[in-house]
Symmetry: C2
């Protein structure tokens, strides 16, 4: 959609010079690119930096954009008191994914699901805006929606991987998806974009940490993955 986007982007630029738009600038700033949005966020106390593993406070109705580092989405399904069958087990925490720089996210209210956002790496920075503040920034609004569309596509693949019965298939699918979608191609195969603990991987694919350690050992022996000294995982494509 490159063509149409720039088409509307151009229309938008013209519009910005109209008297009406200029008068409204202070209320609803038109952002033409990420940088303008980030600069505005910085000047309007809409940016905050987080330490690794720190919880990022979120509210429904706001749009968040990672402008440095990466965030981790964690799901906590919690049933209503009435619908809860037993309460003797701890609530599961589910790793839902990682979003890197320039990726948008938002939290929707749902009675039985809480999504928690955490900084995945040191010095992760997040900017937030109200959706209506993008009213004059069509190109950014479309860009954000297109990124959500992309996340939706990846999620469908992700869900079909999660549905696999065998843990080893879910583990391989998880590595392949991360490697090919977000990884960096190196001589050593695809480097996974982020360092993940075995516990995080286990929570993502619905198994135990011990199982992940064991199965990763198996994949290493078979030459399908490699792990370097910094715990970075490489997915070997040609073995």
């Amino acid at each position: 959609m490159q063509r149409r986007e720039s088409h509307y982007f151009n229309n938008k630029s013209e519009q910005n010079f109209s008297s009406e738009s200029l008068l409204n600038t202070s209320k609803k700033p038109p952002f033409n690119n990420w940088q303008e949005l980030y600069n505005w966020g910085r000047c309007h106390c809409r940016q905050r930096t987080f330490q690794k593993d720190q919880i990022i406070p979120t509210r429904p109705g706001l749009l968040y954009i990672v402008n440095k580092g990466a965030v981790r989405l964690m799901g906590l399904a919690s049933f209503n008191e009435e619908n809860k069958l037993t309460e003797d087990e701890p609530i599961e925490e589910i790793f839902l994914g990682i979003l890197g720089t320039n990726k948008p996210f938002e939290i929707v209210e749902h009675s039985y699901s809480i999504i928690r956002v955490e900084a995945h790496i040191e010095q992760t920075s997040v900017i937030w805006v109200y959706w209506h503040e993008l009213v004059d920034s069509l190109s950014i609004y479309i860009k954000v929606l297109e990124l959500f569309r992309r996340q939706h596509q990846i999620q469908l693949v992700w869900m079909s991987i999660l549905g696999q019965k065998r843990t080893i298939d879910r583990l391989m699918g998880f590595f392949m998806l991360l490697a090919t979608e977000e990884g960096e191609r190196t001589e050593n195969g695809y480097a996974l974009p982020y360092i993940l603990t075995h516990a995080q991987i286990a929570s993502a694919i619905g198994t135990t940490r011990v199982n992940v350690t064991r199965l990763m050992g198996q994949l290493r022996q078979q030459g399908m993955i490699e792990v370097d000294n910094n715990n970075r995982i490489y997915w070997k494509t040609n073995t």
Copy 2:
């Protein structure tokens, strides 16, 4: 985003009367609403009607919209020959969700995931367009993206439900999500929007058909669900 959408919609309408737009109409028709898109699809052999459970042929790069009935997305994770550890087990089929009238879907190419679309009910009709054919239909394009954004939000909740270790929690989460998102509120609780077989529910929540039948019996005994003579499931909210 009601306000901004109509704002751009109005801009768009004005644009349609410009000479340039009129000249281009035959090539890139501007659609101002679903009905115009559906009418165009009908006149340009871009609509097809399917029988229940019939496979809907899809290609990457196209946008599909359900204009009657409902479609079911099924995932088939299939690993490359090289990455496949054993081949003695059948490939899993995973129920990824149902999309009703006016819902868009698209299929992305991914080496290790195949998504298959099937008509969920009799006389399901689907319209398709190339993405670039929406170049002059900004309001429809944004509408489609906003629907994908909504699907993305639901998927996050859905994934946090799928991550639950106990099958009964996944089953309850599945019913609750379907009931509250798409269901119809009745005196009898929320009616689930579609008839689902126990096998489909099992595939959605990663368990066996036998288990679903057993657990549904349990939920019925506890008064949490009801099933009528047409196999429609009701989620009881006040029990």
